[in-house]
């Protein structure tokens, strides 16, 4: 049982790394393709979540729990970044709402 548990743990860690890398690639696709700025922000938020998972895995696989704090920090700052970007999108949306000004052509589609 113990041995099986250990093997399962090792296996799931490897699987988890793989899953996260795939998920990472898919998220990056969303980040690059948008189409809306909000989509990109969602993708970024997702990347932060993946990062937390990634650090967690790394922490377990090395047994070095010092890295856990980094994951927590990422949770904190990931939230901060998302709020900031959400605000960015929000403010731009508000601007459009009442000014109907042309938007930065670089963004959006």
């Amino acid at each position: 049982m113990e041995e099986f548990g250990a093997r399962l743990l090792d296996g799931s860690i490897i699987f988890a790394y793989g899953a996260m890398i795939i998920s990472f690639a898919l998220t990056v696709f969303r980040l690059l393709c948008g189409p809306t700025p909000a989509d990109r922000v969602v993708a970024l938020d997702m990347l932060a979540l993946l990062g937390i998972g990634f650090i967690g895995l790394f922490s377990i696989s090395t047994g070095e729990y010092a890295f856990l704090d980094v994951a927590i920090a990422l949770a904190l700052v990931g939230f901060l970044a998302t709020v900031a970007f959400a605000r960015y999108v929000y403010k731009r949306a508000l601007d459009e709402h009442h000014k109907h000004l042309p938007v930065d052509p670089g963004d959006g589609a």
Partner: protein
Amino acid sequence: MNSLILRTATPLLAGLMLLFSVYVLLRGHNEPGGGFIGGLIGASAFAIYAIAEGLAAARRALVVQPITIAGTGLLLAALSGVVSILFGDAFLTGQWWFPSFAPDMKYASTVVLFDVGVYLVVVGAIAGIAFALEGRE
């Protein structure tokens, strides 16, 4: 930002972040962390607070101007370095006390004071910069 959800969640989150920041500051001597990282987390807390509640509320929360906090931190760090002259040591030599009345406290030292100074500087300066950016259009 005009969001009930954010504004209601923020005090809790900011409080948590502040607590975590002090925790990170204090255990930095033995585990990853320290004044700088703690300070950044603390500053993030104020940033969130400012985004949610507005600049005025964030300023009220800090009571004094952010730059004063930073100045105090710098002064604290500098003085914690100068103190060693009283003990005949070189500049920035750590002075340690091992108080017997609070054994689990382990020690108090100028080194910790120094790190607290770092923390205050980072919180004050980063918050100051963020506030300045928010405040001026």
